[in-house]
């Protein structure tokens, strides 16, 4: 039995609470979302509950159930610890565990309705507090169980099923001395009675087998009900262990009881010896010599025989025998049917006996040829014509795998294909059908092409128009006569001798009217400048005395533009930087030049 150490109840509570604090998150603020706050506190409650639950379950499972263990141990524990008290203590622990679970469940349910950090926190405090109180109430049970545990761990490990010798008798007759002599046990031997207060085990070897020797405390002669715990242990051992009983008697009456009393005791506890080989040991015969033999040998032999007998006579053996049955087939005719051995096996056996080399191996060949050896697996191929073995097999032709075309029926298929092809050609499928189109269609095509070209030209022209100002209607711009005649001529109309036409006359009229207006010598008359005041000189001539100065001004203007033009700027306000992080300036080491220009 291995029971884990558990601490007193104060430690228990402290440990669990500190664990809760360490293992669950600790940071929470009241501005967190409410579901997060709730989850946080719920987690703490559940964690504590889980811990308590686990520990208590551990306790419950570790302690042995009196119904599950060997009756010897059950009785022994009853004798030592009182069955009722034991069961009660464990029951209380179980109840505590369930209560803790319920508390946790309830408070988790309540936590769902907590609407602020403070409320949830109080709920958690309440839950943990209640759980701890429940546990505090179990103080006495836990103490008791702790003591039981400590005592239980010190019980001797007696195997109730193996070969055992049991020493019993009055106190102080010499049982412990006997066990000290016979085994390696080291039991206290003292002149006062009840030196041995509990069972002790020793081990010895006899006939290559291990034997347990159990030493009991002395038994006094009174009825069962009056017996104390110490004696009860001896009785329990007697009652449950299937062992050879050695009843030790003190011939010299040094134990303080007469032979008569010892015999009486023997008769009283005789019912306990039922079904067990019994040896009466007369001890201390050096003091007083009455030779009544009892040697250990006899006891052991007797026990062994007894055990074997019981086993054979047991019903189990019969069960096994019943199931065994040897089946022999009956002969149906006189034909001989010897076992079948394949020929290969026989040959192999013969070959093994003869011990001759089978054939020349590649390895031998390799050894012979040495450096000239070439591994040529193609020579083992099994082909229809043996002389083709060394052919170089083509695999690929013009992007196709030859292996995909290999087919024993390929020639037949090819023939069929060729026939099909012929039929198709005859039917005229492969004739190129460029029907010669009639002239009309050709003309139409030409015209269509011209139309398309013209359309493209028109589109391009409209794209090239540079409209920066307000869009004037078409009638605002004057149409020149030459332009008009050219266009219409292209469209196929006859535009010669059109001086008398209406449009030409109109053109002349407007020109003659326009001439009457005064014009400045500098500006030629155009429709755009008509709106300007006549007195203002144009900008590039204002403030300049003579052409020489004008030229100089122009030169200065051009000079100032050079820099901008070289940098490809649109004007003086163009500050656009095309490449903010040019690689040649920013990458690499500063080996040559500076970063302005590298």
């Amino acid at each position: 039995h291995v029971i884990h150490n558990f601490h007193e109840k104060t430690d228990f509570i402290d440990i669990t609470l500190s664990k809760t604090q360490r293992k669950t998150p600790t940071v929470i603020h009241k501005h967190y979302q409410i579901h997060r706050i709730r989850h946080f506190y719920m987690r703490k409650v559940k964690f504590t509950q889980q811990n308590y639950h686990d520990r208590l379950t551990q306790i419950l499972t570790d302690f042995p159930k009196l119904d599950d263990i060997h009756p010897f141990y059950a009785d022994l524990m009853n004798v030592l610890y009182d069955k009722d008290h034991y069961k009660l203590a464990l029951g209380q622990i179980n109840i505590a565990k369930n209560l803790i679970d319920n508390v946790a469940k309830d408070y988790v349910r309540l936590m769902k309705y907590g609407d602020s950090l403070y409320r949830c926190k109080q709920l958690k405090r309440a839950a943990l507090g209640r759980m701890c109180t429940i546990l505090k109430r179990q103080k006495s049970s836990l103490e008791y169980l702790e003591q039981v545990r400590q005592h239980l761990s010190r019980l001797p490990s007696i195997d109730p099923n193996t070969r055992t010798l049991l020493l019993c008798g009055y106190p102080n007759v010499g049982k412990s001395s006997f066990i000290n002599k016979v085994t390696r046990a080291d039991v206290d031997v003292q002149p006062y009675a009840f030196t041995t207060k509990s069972l002790f085990v020793g081990h010895m070897d006899y006939r290559y087998l291990r034997w347990q020797v159990v030493d009991t405390p002395g038994i006094l002669d009174h009825p069962l009900e009056d017996r104390n715990t110490i004696e009860m242990q001896a009785i329990t051992a007697l009652a449950h262990l299937r062992a050879a009983v050695l009843y030790v008697m003190d011939l010299s009456e040094q134990c303080g009881h007469t032979l008569q009393e010892q015999l009486e005791l023997f008769n009283n506890i005789r019912p306990l010896f039922a079904n067990k080989p019994l040896i009466i040991v007369s001890n201390k015969c050096d003091v007083k010599k009455i030779t009544e033999l009892s040697e250990e040998n006899q006891a052991c032999d007797r026990l062994l025989a007894h055990r074997v007998d019981t086993k054979v006579k047991g019903k189990k053996v019969h069960d096994v025998l019943n199931r065994l049955h040897l089946a022999m087939p009956t002969k149906r005719d006189q034909k001989e049917r010897p076992p079948f051995i394949p020929e290969g096996a026989l040959m192999r056996r013969r070959a093994m006996e003869v011990d001759a080399p089978k054939r020349k191996l590649e390895k031998d060949l390799e050894m012979e040829l040495g450096d000239d050896y070439i591994l040529d697996l193609q020579k083992y191929w099994d082909l229809m014509n043996a002389d083709e073995k060394n052919d170089k097999i083509p695999e690929v032709w013009e992007g196709h795998n030859i292996a995909d075309y290999i087919d024993p029926d390929i020639m037949k298929k090819l023939e069929d294909l060729e026939k099909e092809e012929e039929l198709k050609e005859r039917a005229g499928e492969y004739d190129s059908d460029d029907e010669s189109e009639d002239e009309e269609m050709q003309e139409i095509r030409v015209l269509a092409k011209q139309i398309r070209e013209k359309k493209q030209l028109m589109v391009m022209e409209s794209k090239e128009k540079d409209i920066h100002g307000p869009r004037m209607p078409r009638t605002a711009t004057k149409v020149e006569r030459k332009q008009l005649e050219k266009e219409m001529g292209e469209l196929g109309l006859d535009m010669n001798d059109k001086d008398d036409s209406h449009y030409a006359q109109q053109g002349r009229r407007s020109r003659s009217i326009a001439k009457k207006r005064k014009r400045e010598a500098s500006a030629p008359p155009t429709s755009k400048t008509r709106s300007q005041s006549a007195s203002r000189p144009p900008r590039d001539q204002s403030g300049l005395r003579d052409p020489k100065m004008a030229r100089k001004a122009k030169k200065m203007m051009k000079n100032s533009q050079k820099g901008m033009n070289r940098q490809g700027k649109k004007g003086e306000s163009d500050r656009h930087v095309f490449d903010l992080k040019p690689k040649h300036l920013l990458a690499g080491k500063r080996k040559s030049g500076n970063t302005d220009r590298r």
Binding site: I402, I406, A448, I451
Partner: protein, 164 residues
Amino acid sequence: MRIEKCYFCSGPVYPGHGVMFVRNDCKSFRFCRSKCHKNFKKKRNPRKTRWTKAFRKASGKELTVDNSLEFEKRRNIPVKYNRELWDKTVEAMKRVEEIKRKRQAKFIMNRLKKGKVLEKEEAIQEVKKNIHLIKAPHAGKAKQMEDKMVQKLQEDIDMGDEDI
């Protein structure tokens, strides 16, 4: 050595080229180049990606069912080497390839023929609608009228002559 087919574009994967991907269900996919591989990883369907052979076959742009295409087929039963058979096969391959090419070309040409008809229609429509861009509607009419007048006068004179 085998020239495999790319799973995505159905192009040839020569030995030493491309990538093979083996999936957990033991199906292996070969790719001729990273373009196909990347498209595959993007879970694109080759039957819907326009530049692949799979698309062209699935949308009827290329010859699909034909006897000449049945020759190149991966057979899982190997045939023992036989020099005659191999020679004949190589010859047959060349002829089959010719025929296959012819038929594929014919198929595509037939498909494109419809375009010619449409072109014709288009040209006629174009001319009908936009002839005014090249030729004014009454372009030669003045001359025609003149000629007509001249002719008429001529006729009248003739008539007059006749009368006289």
